[in-house]
Symmetry: C2
Subunit: 110 residues, 2 copies
């Protein structure tokens, strides 16, 4: 395993996953870091994946809809999304940045 110990966003693999939504990813062996940036009102559309997802909002705010629950999260608020639970995230007018972590690695974002 040759992943660097210290990672700058500029070292990351970057993907635009929805209009106005980019992810910058770095992988360890079992977990993937994904720094996600949503432009104002941008949306991560309803989806699910078998990977567990945890994270924290870093800047701005977004409405998180996870299964039957819904909440607007602001910086410092954390979330735990079990595998296979449908979720959707809509940035408010200030946009949103969040750090997501997945287990296992999402191979499509390497």
């Amino acid at each position: 395993m040759s992943s660097p110990l210290f990672v700058d966003k500029s070292d990351c693999s970057m993907h635009t996953i929805f209009p106005g939504v980019t992810v910058s990813t770095a992988a360890g062996n079992e977990m993937m870091l994904s720094y996600v940036e949503l432009e104002p009102n941008a949306e991560v559309e309803l989806h699910s994946h078998p990977h567990e997802q945890v994270g924290m909002v870093i800047k701005g705010s977004a409405r998180f809809i996870v299964g039957e629950k819904e909440q607007v999260l602001t910086p410092g608020r954390m979330y735990v999304i079990p595998g296979n639970v449908e979720h959707r995230v809509i940035a408010l007018e200030d946009g949103c940045e969040a750090l997501d972590i997945f287990h296992p690695i999402r191979e499509e974002y390497l």
Copy 2:
């Protein structure tokens, strides 16, 4: 598993792990979020654990010593610490806050 989907730091389990170093933790099934706060110049002493650890500095700055590598990390800088690699973290004079994620769960911090 009844972990809440949305987690505030005030909902977390809190532990003082070294003088001036507290962690606020929340667990999913496979990963644990740990919001760590270091007072100015506080130190997470040299240690290791079998768990993989990834994370990002949120506020302030700290010197991270991981295996043979050393770097001062500031907000937005991420790190990937493989299991069983010795590491040590020393906050600079502005203190430091970081979000750590562990896999698997660190049972001692539930």
